[in-house]
């Protein structure tokens, strides 16, 4: 596959690994956070840890939109399907997230709720058009990569004058979450960030400049493939060694400084900032999430239906919050791998294959066992 396989080459990986070994200063530790869940998955799935110098550690960040989705929001989605008889359309990633009363969207579906998996918002719109007598609600989740497709869906619904389509909006913002990590009082010591790949395709590299400037932390935007991640870590090592803290772009084939202006404009037309939003594990963060603007209120499931949001606390034993903030590793959680497994996830870090716990359990837990 063109422009995919080349970026997975073992030969080039060996070269980059050698470059990192040569450049990493053996007298110090390097701690970098990869913000994006897709990078967490890639690191585990390809075994990149084996190719990094031993004094370079990757901390997994909260860039997994499923992992930061509060239990209460899944409860709302389930209630819409069960109580309002709506067809709930959702991406596959959310189906197994544990919610209240030992339910998940998948279990609610097994119990009769009309919950359907879709690959795209167009599928959800098609369901609405095919079922004019039913309400169709799309569970919209994701960071800035996934928001523009939702914007297009809402605009299309408006243009088609669809009367039975709405979204339950959980779109969240990357810079706000990075800010929360960096300004947390008990903050985990970090030397830099590997910036998200496709979020940056949309928002550009400019939004990360304040982090480099204000917090003095280098940010290198990395593409999605394992070689991209390795090169980004190499570039971060270089910045740390030089005492620099700027935004650099490894993913030049898809990211520019300004990003995709058309996508940004469509999002601005349809969405506005919420004053604040609850994030699982990170608490309530101001100006961190989006809701539909007033002209599109009819497409907002929260305004269309009565399904009030009720905050639900995480299981006491669950360490997802600390793991999302990078304060703990999955293996530090008391219930990791015993009570909490992918078959029986207690927290959302274990459900999404991008979550730090699921990634570590599925691809990497052999490392502890060997120790």
């Amino acid at each position: 596959m063109k422009y995919i396989d080349e970026f997975r080459s073992g030969e080039l990986a060996a070269g980059l690994a050698a470059a990192m070994r040569r450049d990493a200063n053996p007298e110090r530790e390097y701690r970098f956070m990869e913000f994006c869940g897709g990078h967490t998955h890639a690191i585990s799935r390809y075994g990149i840890a084996d190719l990094l110098p031993p004094n370079v550690q990757m901390i997994h960040g909260p860039g997994c939109p499923v992992c930061v989705l509060p239990i209460g929001r899944i409860d709302q989605a389930i209630r819409l399907a069960r109580e309002q008889g709506a067809i709930l359309a959702t991406y596959g990633d959310t189906l197994r997230v544990p919610a209240s009363q030992r339910l998940t969207l998948l279990r609610a579906k097994a119990q009769g709720a009309d919950i359907r998996m879709v690959y795209s918002t167009s599928d959800a719109l098609n369901i609405a058009r095919a079922n004019p007598e039913r309400e169709v609600v799309f569970l919209a989740i994701g960071f800035e990569t996934t928001t523009p497709p939702t914007a297009v869906a809402v605009l299309t619904a408006a243009a088609l004058n669809l009367r039975n389509f709405s979204i339950l909006c959980n779109h969240v913002l990357t810079p706000a979450a990075m800010h929360a990590i960096l300004s947390a009082p008990q903050g985990v010591p970090l030397d830099g960030f590997v910036g998200p790949a496709h979020v940056s395709t949309v928002i550009g590299s400019a939004p990360y400049e304040p982090f480099a400037d204000d917090y003095g932390k280098p940010v290198v935007i990395a593409g999605f493939e394992p070689l991209d991640v390795m090169r980004a870590v190499h570039m971060l090592i270089g910045q740390v060694n030089d005492g620099r803290a700027v935004v650099e772009n490894e993913f030049t084939r898809a990211v520019t400084r300004t990003g995709n202006l058309r996508a940004q404009a469509l999002v601005a037309e349809v969405f506005e900032l919420r004053e604040s939003f609850e994030w699982r594990g990170l608490g309530t963060i101001p100006a961190s999430a989006l809701r539909l603007r007033a002209p599109f209120a009819q497409f907002d499931a929260e305004r269309r239906f009565t399904v009030p949001y009720k905050a639900v606390a995480d299981n006491k034993a669950c360490a997802c919050g600390e793991i999302l903030r990078g304060e703990k590793r999955p293996q530090d959680c008391k219930i990791f791998g015993t009570v909490c497994t992918p078959e029986n996830p207690i927290g959302s870090c274990m459900v999404s294959s991008e979550g730090a716990c699921a990634a570590h359990y599925t691809f990497g837990r052999f490392r502890e066992a060997a120790a």
Partner: protein, 84 residues
């Protein structure tokens, strides 16, 4: 939600839609988020939408850089090893 992959555009269709091809597998996607895409362009697709055109020159430049970094580092490493 980052899973997105590059694929080549092989056909343009009405209503902002296009068909992309990945090793012989074809899928219809939407171009609503991008401008000026032509047949033969590579685009990055995510949940059925093209997010951006892939800059193929930059892709090649990046790969060349990887090769160069690698041969420098491995070359240096083997020189080190050869020291008596």
């Amino acid at each position: 939600m980052c899973l997105a992959i590059p694929a080549i555009v092989v056909e343009l269709r009405d209503g902002d839609n296009a068909v992309v091809d990945l090793d012989g597998v074809r899928k219809e996607i939407s171009l609503a988020l991008v401008d000026g895409i032509a047949v033969g362009d590579y685009v990055i697709i995510h949940v059925g939408f093209a997010l951006q055109r892939l800059n193929v020159d930059e892709a090649e430049r990046t790969l060349s850089l990887f090769r160069q970094l690698g041969s420098e580092a491995l070359g240096a490493a083997s020189t080190v090893g050869a020291r008596p």
